[in-house]
Symmetry: C2
Subunit: 240 residues, 2 copies
């Protein structure tokens, strides 16, 4: 019997990859519009490399971009980048298709819902609050607050503790085979791979661990319904 479903946030509930790509492109375009003397392709490539090296939450992307492009520090260009980035982020931030219907159906079925995500806690909450999906969830677990990253056992075990559940009573839905699917399976939770976003076409070894694969988030509702209507639905999920 599944009593709780935990969702990953980025590219599962919220369309983050597309957003980030658009935001970065608009940042570079706005910098060039305000005088950055660099070809778009070169600057964008350099920004992606920088983000790859320093991480997406590094607070000095645009300052460092100027250094890497051998340009003087010009706060006007940095400001133009910040504006282009933030305007896009706010304009395009939206939930993945079907999110609200899926969450509502699951609530109607009496399930508890949670979010399990990596990332900066304030930024993750910003996405949740800006898209207005906070009321669907009894718990939001951000791995940073626990001092680990998915697929660390601790974050999934903490999720189970919060709802006082056994592993087989919970399902995890996420787009990442390692972080979400492998992470859920190793503690004995049901894993639903959401084939979506930039990892949609990967076929990694971890794939074998997914109990279910969906391309449409709303299919999660039928999977949970099916699991809970099965005879002996309290059975342990067998280890793979």
């Amino acid at each position: 019997m599944i009593r709780a479903v935990f969702f990953d946030l980025d590219d599962t509930l919220i369309d983050t990859s597309k957003l980030a790509e658009n935001a970065r492109k608009n940042a570079i375009e706005n910098m060039i519009r305000h005088g950055l003397p660099v070809d778009f392709g070169i600057a964008y490539h350099e920004l992606l490399e920088l983000i790859n090296e320093y991480g997406s939450n590094f607070p000095h992307h645009f300052d460092y971009l100027l250094r890497r492009l051998d340009l003087p520090y010009e706060p006007k260009w940095v400001a133009a980048g910040v504006i282009g980035y933030h305007n896009t982020k706010i304009a395009y931030l939206k939930t993945v298709k079907g999110v609200r219907r899926t969450l509502l159906r699951l609530k109607e079925m009496g399930l508890q819902l949670g979010v399990i995500t990596d990332g900066d806690p304030v930024k993750q909450w910003e996405k949740i609050l800006r898209t207005g999906i906070d009321d669907y969830f009894e718990a939001v677990l951000i791995s940073d607050s626990v001092g680990v990253k998915k697929p660390h056992r601790k974050i999934f075990e903490k999720a189970l503790e919060m709802f006082d559940l056994k592993p087989h009573e919970a399902a995890v839905v996420g787009d990442r085979l390692y972080s979400d699917v492998y992470g859920a399976k190793r503690v004995g939770m049901t894993a639903i791979w959401f084939k979506y976003g930039k990892y949609a076409n990967r076929e990694l070894d971890y794939l074998e661990y997914a109990d279910f694969t969906v391309r449409d988030l709303e299919d999660v509702v039928e999977i949970i319904r099916g699991l809970n209507s099965e005879e002996g639905s309290d059975k342990e999920v067998p280890a793979h």
Copy 2:
């Protein structure tokens, strides 16, 4: 002969005080809306005290607010504060009444225009770019980039150097009696006090230094026109 006019930014070209007040109030309101268990008046008062102690560019206002209110760190509340603050900042950021007309008239009269401001360079440029007034100015001087704050002589002298002018060929317009008016006068520039915003009703000693006082920014145009049409308009402005 006045050849250049330098404007202060906050509460001279851009309505910053009102904006900051609204943004802070909306931040607290949004935090309370998302569960902050504190009375609005208490939380707002604490935030103002904190900003007073740590400065308005301190990057951890909302984290510290929770500490000062003896509350646990809750990234959801911090995110709610950030959203309330930024939404207001972007929605309400606007130029002071008459700014565009004033700048346009001065350009038509052949004057060079500049901005002389304190504050974080990227944030100041953000205000300039978001309000779209950047094209009016040949120079934007942010004191941080020079390592000083107004009324330090160096920032005003640098402004004159950039346009290759003598002090009596430049005027400064600003709302602050110490930073702008005193700062301009001590290097020999014409000082126009813009009686506006939170300092509009102050009558400090520095007042005696202002060459002109305006309550409407557009009056600057007539003042400059008057100075430049006077007989012997190349005269030194007498020291007070």
